[in-house]
């Protein structure tokens, strides 16, 4: 019999056999603790996983009340007494097979087995060490909440519940990952989410066959189409307030235990340009900020390519003063401008990568080396021209304005740079056609990624091109279903 088949076996009624089986299945792992004792005249064992539960809670809430039980006739009577007379913990599931028993054990439950009982009682006394609620590192804002998701799915669920106290908020827990047995929580507002969307997400989640779920990247591909898409049609957020706003708009979310991010479905391109601060400021300033982000995205993707294309192929686009300035700057550069641009961009990407991966104290040194030494030295030695460095810096800065699209910006910037360097504006235009078509082809669950721009939806422009006043926004009662395109 394989290990998997043995795990599926029902719990047997002999205490010794049970303990032996648990030890065998756990491979004699040192962190599985078995505490044997007698209560109510019946031999029992409390099994727990060290480090996953709070010893103090277990002692106070379980061991102390259980050991004082008067003699009971049988294990069934003992379990019945514990279930009906003692309130040992609020979360008290039962396990009838070893598979469930181990899942509970590894989730921080204390499991009680008894001589003559063919089931086990579990008590939620989780007390493992986890990171506290902190400010999100990637989605900063000024006027909103400063709480971010943590690695504990139940804490994340509570953060959402605290913000949406409606009974319409539903959270469905399930387990994914053959080995990791990761808790996954599907969240949605019952009265807002389109039923078809929910059914299809459930089906997508049911299709997941993974050994482990260690980040959002394990689940996201199953929620997206299989075809090649540059942009992801499943969003990610680390802010509970942002997630709540998406749930209210009729989206569904997936929380993963061990991951401080939530996946939202469906995701639209325009969402990447929204921040929660847009709703904190006056609409005119929010509109300004939003268009600034749209512009920054265009600059981030196209500026180095357009600069290279103009200097290499279309100098007539520049006025004479600018042309002389650039000619003067570029005449001493030893490399062709395309190679120069590529080197500068790749250098930036390397510095960025180093900044992310290096320990924080060394990160500061990287900034100094890259900014002062490499940048300054490259310009002074004439290896890189100042205008090119300025354009690259502007493009990089533009990319930082829309962090949500950083991977796409990085790759597209390089792609457009090569196209512009080789074929000029013509090459940029051709690549733009392909990219535009790819973006427009992105559609999951019937929600076009480019909505409300194309297909155009007047209802959606109130919170994309502009930002209406809060009263008008609330009056329109918008949900994401307005963008749904039926497969006719």
């Amino acid at each position: 019999m394989t290990r998997n088949e043995r795990e599926k076996l029902p719990i047997c009624s002999g205490l010794r056999d049970n303990i032996a089986m648990i030890k065998e299945l756990s491979g004699g792992s040192s962190d599985v603790l078995v505490n044997e004792f007698t209560t109510g005249g019946i031999d029992c064992a409390l099994i727990c996983c060290e480090g996953m539960m709070s010893s103090q809670t277990a002692a106070e809430m379980i061991l102390s009340p259980i050991t004082g039980i008067a003699p009971q006739g049988s294990a069934a009577a003992l379990f019945s007494y514990i279930q009906t007379e003692l309130l040992l913990s609020t979360d008290r599931p039962e396990a009838r097979d070893y598979d469930t028993l181990f899942r509970l054990l590894n989730s921080g439950f204390a499991v009680l087995i008894a001589e003559g009982a063919d089931r086990a009682l579990a008590f939620g006394v989780q007390g493992y060490a986890s990171r506290g609620i902190q400010e999100p590192s990637g989605e900063g804002n000024i006027m909103g909440s400063h709480e971010g998701f943590t690695e504990t799915v139940r804490t994340n669920m509570s953060m959402i519940r605290r913000r949406l106290k409606s009974p319409e908020l539903v959270m469905e827990l399930s387990v994914k990952g053959e080995r990791s047995r990761t808790d996954i929580c599907l969240c949605y507002m019952r009265d807002r989410v389109p039923k078809r969307l929910l059914d299809r997400i459930r089906r997508s989640l049911a299709d997941i066959q993974l050994e482990s779920v260690l980040s959002t990247g394990y689940i996201r591909p199953f929620l997206e189409k299989r075809s090649f898409e540059l942009f992801s049609s499943a969003g990610v957020t680390e802010r509970p307030d942002v997630l709540c706003s998406k749930l209210i708009e009729g989206r569904a979310a997936v929380l993963i235990d061990g991951v401080p991010y939530a996946i939202t479905v469906p995701r639209l391109l325009c969402e990447s340009f929204h921040t929660l601060d847009d709703y904190a400021y006056k609409p005119y300033y929010a509109v300004f900020g939003r268009w600034l982000r749209y512009g920054a995205f265009i600059i981030a993707v196209l500026l180095p390519a357009v600069y290279t294309a103009i200097v290499m192929h279309h100098p007539e686009l520049l006025n004479s003063t600018l042309l002389m300035l650039l000619a003067d700057a570029e005449k001493n550069a030893p490399l062709p401008i395309l190679a120069e641009s590529l080197i500068v961009l790749l250098m930036y990407e390397m510095i960025r990568e180093a900044g992310i991966r290096l320990p924080k104290p060394v990160g500061g040194a990287v900034s100094i080396i890259s900014g002062l030494i490499i940048g300054d030295a490259a310009v002074k030695s004439g290896l890189v021209s100042t205008p090119l460095l300025t354009m690259t810096a502007l493009a990089v800065l533009g990319g930082l304005v829309v962090p949500d699209l950083a991977p796409q910006v990085t790759v597209l910037r390089l792609g457009f740079l090569i196209a512009g360097g080789i074929m000029g504006v013509f090459g940029i235009s051709l690549l733009a056609c392909a990219v535009l078509t790819n973006i427009c082809a992105t559609e999951d669950y019937g929600f076009p990624f480019t909505a409300p721009l194309s297909p155009f939806s007047a209802a959606g422009t109130g919170d994309t091109a502009v930002r209406l006043g809060m009263r008008r926004m609330l009056r329109r009662g918008f949900t994401v279903e307005a963008y749904h395109e039926q497969d006719k």
Partner: protein, 336 residues
């Protein structure tokens, strides 16, 4: 089945019409603008029976094999003409490496075809959605050109005699409307009312043709005799800024429109090929583009075969209603 909206179809077709106008060869004058606009309205009139038929559920997919083959030939021929127009117009538009011999020309045509393969293989929905955005960009450019042309234009050019007749300009208008073969095909994909769709498209086409040709006429009227492509030249002459040129920005619109125009023909050809030659299951789109590019390499631009091109446009618009009428007549006779 994938459905598109009437505004998406209008955007898809208008992009092709503007591209054809950009590549328009020969003299243009006020009469040209009137002829093209009037031609568009006549086309609307001719397209109404087709639209009504589609509204009643009869699309080109329900037509006989001969009709589908004829439409396929029209679509492929117009695709070839588009490549020919691109080849000819590139003599006045700077495309890197295009003038560096046969390799350069092949590379440019190949690149356009490659992008078209990707664009048309993404499906009609993606093509239509992206065409709306591309059309928006085009509209912005046309508006810029028109505004700057208003400053550069010479009012005397409006009345400058060009020795043209309304009939000749009507024919030129029809000849430049080769995309109507794909319009006939794509009308079956419309989710909205087809008659409304036809009205929207042809009205927009009439207005757009008139505005572009009138603008080109008033800007280039004085030097028309030395120009090969008056619309392109008008865009080059209408500089919005006094100290710098914006010709290359016009190149953006030109190349984007070229890609979408060819991609629409490829999509229509792929659809017709699927209906007509069911055994051909793969690479239909690529094959269509290869045929178009090959035709483009050997055939002259449509300006040299105006009458034939106009006749093909008429055939593409009327063939489906004509077949329906014939079949209806036969059925009535059989019942009688």
């Amino acid at each position: 089945m994938n459905r598109i909206s009437k505004s998406q179809l209008a955007a898809l077709m208008l992009i092709g019409d503007v591209f054809a106008l950009c590549c328009l060869h020969g003299r243009i004058c006020l009469m040209t603008a009137i002829g093209f606009a009037a031609g568009s309205l006549i086309q609307l009139f001719l397209a109404l029976p087709l639209a009504r038929l589609c509204d009643r559920g009869k699309t080109p997919a329900d037509c006989g094999r001969a009709v589908r083959v004829l439409l396929l030939v029209c679509v492929l021929a117009w695709g070839g003409a588009l490549f020919a127009m691109l080849r000819e117009a590139s003599s006045v538009i700077y495309i890197p490496y295009e003038r560096s011999g046969l390799f350069g020309r092949l590379a440019v045509a190949g690149l356009v075809a490659l992008v078209c393969v990707y664009v048309s293989s993404s499906g009609i929905k993606a093509l239509a959605r992206s065409a709306v955005i591309a059309a928006g960009l085009g509209a912005l450019c046309v508006a810029t050109v028109v505004v700057s042309a208003a400053i550069q234009s010479d009012a005397d050019n409006v009345l400058r005699p060009a020795g043209s007749s309304l009939w000749r300009e009507l024919m030129r208008g029809f000849a430049a409307s080769g995309g109507l073969g794909s319009f006939t095909v794509l009308l079956g994909f419309i989710a909205d009312d087809r008659t409304d769709t036809a009205a929207l498209y042809f009205t927009c086409k009439a207005v757009l043709s008139f505005v572009i040709l009138f603008t080109a006429a008033v800007v280039t009227g004085g030097i028309m005799d030395v120009l090969e492509f008056p619309v392109v030249s008008a865009a080059q002459l209408s500089q919005p800024f006094p100290v710098q040129r914006t010709d290359s920005l016009f190149l953006v619109v030109f190349s984007v429109f070229a890609v979408y125009t060819v991609a629409v023909q490829a999509s229509a050809a792929e659809y017709l090929a699927a209906l007509t030659i069911p055994r051909l299951k793969r690479f239909r789109c690529t094959l269509a583009l290869v045929i178009m590019a090959a035709l483009g390499a050997v055939m002259p631009a449509p300006s040299e075969w105006t009458e034939l091109s106009a006749a093909a446009v008429l055939a593409a618009l009327l063939i489906v209603p004509a077949e329906a009428m014939l079949k209806g007549g036969v059925r009535r006779r059989e019942r009688a």
